[in-house]
Structures are given as C-alpha cells and as structure tokens.
C-alpha cells in the first residue's frame, strides 16, 4: 500500500499541489485523474521521488520515502516499476536489452534466468518474436507493452503508469488498460495510473482520485463516479458528447 499525506509542491511561487492525501491499496488499480495542468503528473513524480515535495510524506508499506536515507530510497526504488508516457525505452538498446536492463543492473541472476524472465514478461504483455527489434522499429502500442514488461520484470511491488494510453487508438488503449489491471491483480501489486482518459476511468478505475487545481476534490470508483454532485468532477466526466448522451439515457 502507498499512502500520501498532505503533499504540497510549488513551482516558481505558483502552488501546483495544495495538500493532497490519500491511500492507494494493493491489488487494485488506483487512478489519479483530472484535467491537464491540475498536477497529476507532478503528484506522481512526487510519489516516485523524481520531484521532492515541499511538504508532506509518502509511505511505501509504512516506510517513509520522503525523508528516507539514501539506502532506503534505493531499496524502495528497486521495488518500483514505471511506465512512462512515451515508453522511455532506451533508444540504443533493443527490446530484449531494454527489458533485461533492470535485471542486469539490480540482480545477480544468471544469463539464462534473466532471459527466461524477459521472455516470460514479454509473453505476458502479448509480445513475442520482437526481442531483437529496436524501439524505433515498433509501434506506439508495442512500446507501451515493452515499457510494462520492463516495469514488471524485476518483480516490482509498485507499478506507476503515466498516461499509459496517450497517443494510442481507442482499441489499443483499452488493451493496455486491461493489461495493467490484469497484471495488478495477477501479481498483487500496488498500481497507480495517471490519466485523463475517461475510457480508462470507466474500464479499470478500482479507486479514483480526482484532482482539481492542485486539490483532491473527489475520490471513489468507476461505479459511483457518474453519480457525484461535485461540479468540477461532472464537468470533467461529462465533457464529451458520448458521456452526456449516456447520462441522458440513464
């Protein structure tokens, strides 16, 4: 479980996060949603430690990550897997080298063990026979899958996904969303997904935190998000014609 307490962050005098708290449980897909510029990605970066919050704490299974010493920080980071918006695959390495990288760097496994694990993870994300392809030779959806394989290859306990389906067609986006949900449940990990895609929200939102102008204004799940009385949330959820049509029909 990941717990955040009163996270605040200011950039150049402008407050981006204004005291956000919440709990992200293990084994379910936790979503942080909100319009562009509300601080979702900043919050995610504060949680993984890429940005240090001005105030507040992040706890990984009770371990204070914010004030941790270097060794504890490294220990926790080695339990983290992250899927970045653009995949963040290493351009100079092929698919297999990208996925094996965390094992090379962080484990003492034999070459055969590592290759078995890489092939298992690639198969799990639906990729086979692409081991030797370079990132530039595969599609956006495949890059995301490779990114997920790399994130889980080291038996990560925490999975973070920053806009996992941005730039993907709706069908591929849903496949990626479902893959994240399946992996979360199958490996019983704590997953946090940052998104502004309503399809993802309705598809995989076991727990949803809605941010608005740096505040958490609502939390719930995919079954009660459409029943909220929070104006900002309703403006966000029913921003598109399809959702408004569904609401009228319901």
């Amino acid at each position: 479980m990941i717990e955040i307490q009163d996270i605040k962050k200011t950039f150049d005098g402008k407050p981006i996060l204004k005291g956000i708290s919440g709990k992200f449980e293990k084994g379910r897909t936790n979503l942080i949603i909100g319009a562009s510029g509300t601080g979702k990605s900043v919050l995610l970066k504060c949680i993984v430690g890429l940005i240090k919050p001005d105030e507040g704490h992040v706890y990984y299974d009770g371990r204070d990550f914010t004030d941790a010493d270097r060794n504890l920080k490294i220990e926790i980071r080695r339990e983290i897997g992250m899927l970045f918006q653009g995949g963040a695959l290493f351009d100079s390495k092929n698919v297999e080298q990208n996925v094996i990288f965390p094992l090379d760097m962080l484990t003492d496994m034999s070459k055969e063990e590592k290759l078995d694990r890489v092939n298992f993870c690639l198969k799990r994300v639906g990729l086979e026979n692409v081991n030797k392809k370079m990132p530039s030779e595969i599609s956006g959806g495949m890059k995301k899958r490779v990114g997920i394989a790399r994130a889980i290859v080291n038996n990560s306990k925490y999975l973070f996904c920053d806009e996992p389906n941005s730039g993907l067609d709706p069908q591929t986006a849903i496949v990626i969303d479902n893959l994240i949900k399946e992996i979360t449940e199958e490996f019983d990990i704590t997953t946090i997904v940052v998104t502004h895609d309503m399809n993802s929200v309705m598809e995989i939102g076991d727990y949803i935190m809605f941010l608005y102008e740096g505040h958490k204004v609502w939390e719930g799940n995919d079954s009660n998000i459409t029943e909220s009385n929070v104006k900002e949330l309703n403006d966000f959820v029913f921003a598109n014609k399809l959702m408004r049509t569904i609401r009228k029909e319901v």
Binding site: V48, G49, L50, R70, K73, I74, E75, I76, R77, R78, I80, M82, F84, Q85, G86, A88, L89, F90, D91, F101, P102, D104, M105, L106, F160
Partner: protein
C-alpha cells in the same frame, strides 16, 4: 556562479552511489569506440592539413636568407606539439564529441529515459556520464599523439612537394633542440581538455529541459562553453607550466 556550483555538484554526483565495477567496463569500452575511435578520421584529416598549412605558411613568412630553412620544421614541430595538436584538436573534439554527448543526454532527458533510470534506483549521472568522462580521458591523449604525428608528417609532405624545404632539412629541424617537456605539457593539456569537454557537454545535456529546440540549444551551448573553457585552461596551463 550558480552554474559553476551546480556543475561542481554534478561532477561530485558521478562518484557517489556508483554501480558495480563490471557494469562500467563494458560502458567505457563502448564509449571509447564512440568518442575516440569514431573521431580518428576527422582528427587525422584536420591534423594532417594543419601540419601542411603550417609548413607552407611558415616558409612564406621566413624570407630572410639569414634564417636556416630547417627552422620551418622546427617551428612546425613546436607549434604542433605545444598548441595545434592538444588545443586546436580540443576545439574540433568539442565540436564533434561535445555536441554528440549533449545531444544524446538531452534527448534522453526529454524522452524521460533518465527519469526511468532514476526510478529504477540507478544513479543516472554516474551510469551515463562517468563512462564518457573516463573514455575521453583515455582516448583524447591518444588522439593528440596521433594528431601531432600526422601534423608533422603532413608538414613534411607539404614541404617536400612544394619544395620549400628538403627532406634532410625537415628531419634535421624536427630533431634539433628538441625539448621533451613539450610532449609532457601536451599530454597534461590533453587530459585537462578531455575532462573539460566531456564533463561540460554532459552537464549541458544532462540538465536539458523542454523539447527538441532545447536539445539543439544544449548542444550549441556545450560546444561554446567547452571552447571557452579550453581556451581559459590553455592560458592558465601555459602560465603555470611553461
């Protein structure tokens, strides 16, 4: 001043929380190929022509019949070893390798590849930059030695072909009054310049923010800052050691 402080902290970060030694061996070999071996052709061409031009221009300037002809190769030798090979090659090195390093790291930064390393708990600066700095320190002095040799050879052929100096005079000029310390001085300079080019370019690339435009700016800034640092260091070393 703030940038210099940040640069010093950046250099310090290369040596803390390093990865396993074996990890660096492979990376250093790869960087030696990328930084050193791949610069060989450019350095060879530039050095050969600089030597050739130095010979022809020195001959053009030495018009007095009182000055012996072998002085041409003596001038080319000292000019090459003291300045052209270590310093001018460093400018060329900054243009080729410096811009490449800044562009590579800048692209890695804006495409979140560096963030990916950090999230894994890897010291990204140490993992990405230290091998480049070590590779530059290994290969640049070698390039300087090769450049000095080719420059003198280039001068030899230019002198013979244009008939401004005979073969015997050229060889004699190269050998006469040779001060071995000039080679030591050139090698000291080459180590300093290699460190400056690789570390400044890495610093510029590593802290790139924004998009493709900023990567381009980082590359340009890496080259210009490296060149200024080379010239400053060149002057300071000359004052201190000669």
């Amino acid at each position: 001043m703030k940038s210099i402080g940040k640069y010093c902290i950046f250099i310090g970060s290369l040596f803390v929380n390093r990865e396993r030694f074996s990890t660096y061996i492979k990376l250093i070999i790869n960087e030696c190929i990328a930084i050193g071996f791949n610069s060989l052709v450019l350095v060879s061409i530039v050095a050969t022509f600089i030597g050739a031009v130095s010979t022809v221009q020195t001959a053009f300037n030495l018009v007095s019949p009182l000055i012996p002809t072998y002085v041409i190769s003596q001038v080319v030798r000292d000019l090459t070893i003291l300045e052209l090979a270590p310093s001018i090659m460093a400018i060329v090195f900054a243009g080729k390798v410096g811009s490449n390093i800044a562009g590579e790291l800048g692209t890695m930064r804006i495409t979140e590849q560096i963030d990916a390393l950090e999230v894994m708990g890897i010291n990204s600066s140490s993992y990405l930059v230290l091998p480049k700095v070590i590779a530059a320190l290994i290969t640049y002095p070698m390039l300087v030695v090769i450049a000095a040799y080719l420059s003198i050879v280039g001068g030899y052929f230019a002198g013979i072909l244009t008939k401004v100096i005979t073969e015997t005079e050229y060889i004699y000029g190269i050998r006469v009054d040779f001060n071995e310390f000039t080679v030591t001085f050139a090698l000291i300079k080459s180590f300093v310049f290699a460190f400056l080019v690789s570390s400044i370019s890495s610093y510029k690339g590593f802290y790139t923010r924004g998009g493709a435009l900023e990567v381009g700016k980082a590359s340009t800034s890496a080259v210009t800052n490296s060149c200024i640092a080379i010239l400053l260091a060149d002057y300071l070393l000359a004052q201190l050691l000669l």
